[in-house]
Symmetry: C2
């Protein structure tokens, strides 16, 4: 029985994708020193922008059967099985190494040996998912298409992380219906608290109407920098969510944004240590997440 | 005949709202030294997050008839007229001054006299618009609801700026169908160029299928900072879009993000000069936009 976590926030650009990708990569790799066990992780991209494939250097024009077919098929006649749409660790690794070479032609030695993933699978998305979302409105069981597609096909994973788009449309509702846990990345900025309260209302509605088992996994502060807003938002979040707020705060660092230039998310591309504070921050978050997974 | 500009990008958090609000405020105020004439401006918020009302300190729980009613009504029986949903410059000004006082209780002198707008109207949004978007999928003329609502009611404005959400769903399609011009704020980051090309495809589809008159007003680089990515993205954007790329680059500055703490967007809250580079940048962009409006 895999643990299913949806990474949700209708505020744009608050680090959903960066958080989903780095947590998935770290949890799949594990880390002995930090006592994070290896896990088999499936990363599901539910965002038509399809940024996750791009992070790993995957060319979306060469994708095989995809998420879109899973949503478009009839409720019991979906001719595509979820497993047929998955990109394997082997393919992800090859793609990352090719991306490294393509984007760093001046580095003659090529990609580092440890630029790889062993236990991470990806279910990618592409832009057609926008049209799929619009069509989905008229279909029977429209909130449950992802949940249905996941049945009987995902027992081989320990953790499934779903990256949702910045909206409260049917794709996000599908993520909330398919998940057991919600992880909310929050950027400390002017609209953060108002957007949080909108989001909590939506989650409550989904709990009542579609998924009573849905619970809050945690809130994580992202892109943190010194500012009048940072302090206030962090304080309010702590007051409201108590220990649901992860202790690790992810700082705003150009290195985190630029990691995909080297073909991989920062937790893979850089060792977690004092000279790589971006990698260290996401590994620390992964450690907190891993502990929380073990207590659940 | 107002000029209608839609502020569009399905990438989240790239500065659509900040750009829409600051341009609308600057164009409505005008600036003699910068040769920007005063214009009557309508700002339309099409994003269920409703961040624009919040920027001006408007309490969304007290909104009268809203955008949602415009979309929900029958094609010819919409009982609500767009003009009934508008928030006037007088109400916006009062709200900004109250927000200033509420958020700065330690400042005994109260809000500055020039914390006001004279020629800016707002059509606000709230979270129910998410549900409205889902229901819209099954309605006749679903792409044209905003365009219809705008007919016969907006001739009193010189410029209309529409702020769209971070998605390519029906709300954004309505913005593209109702607009004559598209303004694209772009943050120079890893996914920027791929997302741009996805967006241009969507715009082309809307041009073919729904709005042949739609044209590109311009591209504007936002949240610019020194980084490997900044240079590459700016260079590629310049190559691809030529003079469609505005010369003004908006720097990443905490002051821009924190301006709403003083009850107003930065172009109203701070004078455009060397000690307020955030305000200066957006006023410079407004000046370029104003010139482009005059040539069109
Ligand atoms: N801690 C950080 N420091 C600096 N840049 C960051 C950080 N986290 C994310 N970024 C960058 O900020 C941008 C937005 O992040 P990301 O795409 O993860 O957000 P998102 O919530 O998934 O956005 P969307 O709403 O568009 O899906 C990306 O270019 C990303 O690389
Ligand atoms: N130039 C800038 N420097 C620093 N912060 C900025 C700048 N422009 C915008 N911001 C802040 O970044 C955040 C995202 O900006 P904004 O909300 O305008 O983007 P958006 O594209 O409208 O997002 P969404 O996709 O959620 O609608 C906001 O908190 C805003 O105040
Ligand atoms: Mg994302
Ligand atoms: Mg916005």
């Amino acid at each position: 029985e895999p643990l299913v976590i949806a990474c949700i926030n209708h505020k744009g650009g608050c680090g959903k994708t960066t958080t989903a990708v780095n947590l998935a990569a770290a949890l799949s790799a594990g880390n002995k020193d930090m006592e994070i066990p290896k896990r088999r992780v499936l990363l599901i991209d539910l965002d038509p922008k399809g940024n996750i494939a791009t992070t790993f250097g995957i060319d979306k024009r060469n994708l095989g059967p995809s998420m879109n077919e899973l949503f478009k098929g009839g409720v019991d006649s979906s001719s595509i099985k979820l497993n047929e749409c998955l990109i394997s660790p082997k393919t992800l690794t090859k793609s990352m190494q090719n991306a490294f070479v393509r984007q760093n032609p001046e580095r003659k030695r090529g990609p580092p040996k440890d630029l790889k993933v062993d236990n991470l699978w990806l279910l990618p998305a592409d832009l057609d998912l926008s049209g799929v979302e619009i069509d989905l409105a008229t279909r029977i069981g429209r909130e449950n298409r992802l949940r249905l597609a996941m049945q009987n096909t995902v027992s081989q994973f320990d953790v499934i992380i779903i990256d949702a788009p910045a909206s409260l449309g049917l794709l996000t509702i599908n993520a909330l219906a398919a998940a057991q846990w919600v992880l909310i990345p929050v950027q400390a900025e002017f609209y953060a608290l108002e957007n949080m309260s909108q989001l909590m209302d939506t989650i409550r509605n989904v709990q009542k109407a579609v998924n009573p088992g849905l619970r809050l996994f945690g809130i994580t502060l992202t892109m943190v920098q010194r500012s009048r807003l940072s302090g206030t938002v962090a304080e309010q979040a702590r007051k409201h969510f108590g220990d649901r707020l992860f202790k690790t705060e992810i700082p705003r660092l150009v290195s985190i944004a630029e990691a995909p230039l080297d073909g991989a998310p920062i937790v893979i591309g850089m060792k977690p240590n004092k000279s790589n504070p971006g990698s260290l921050a996401y590994w620390n978050l992964a450690s907190e997440v891993s502990e929380r997974i073990e207590i659940i």
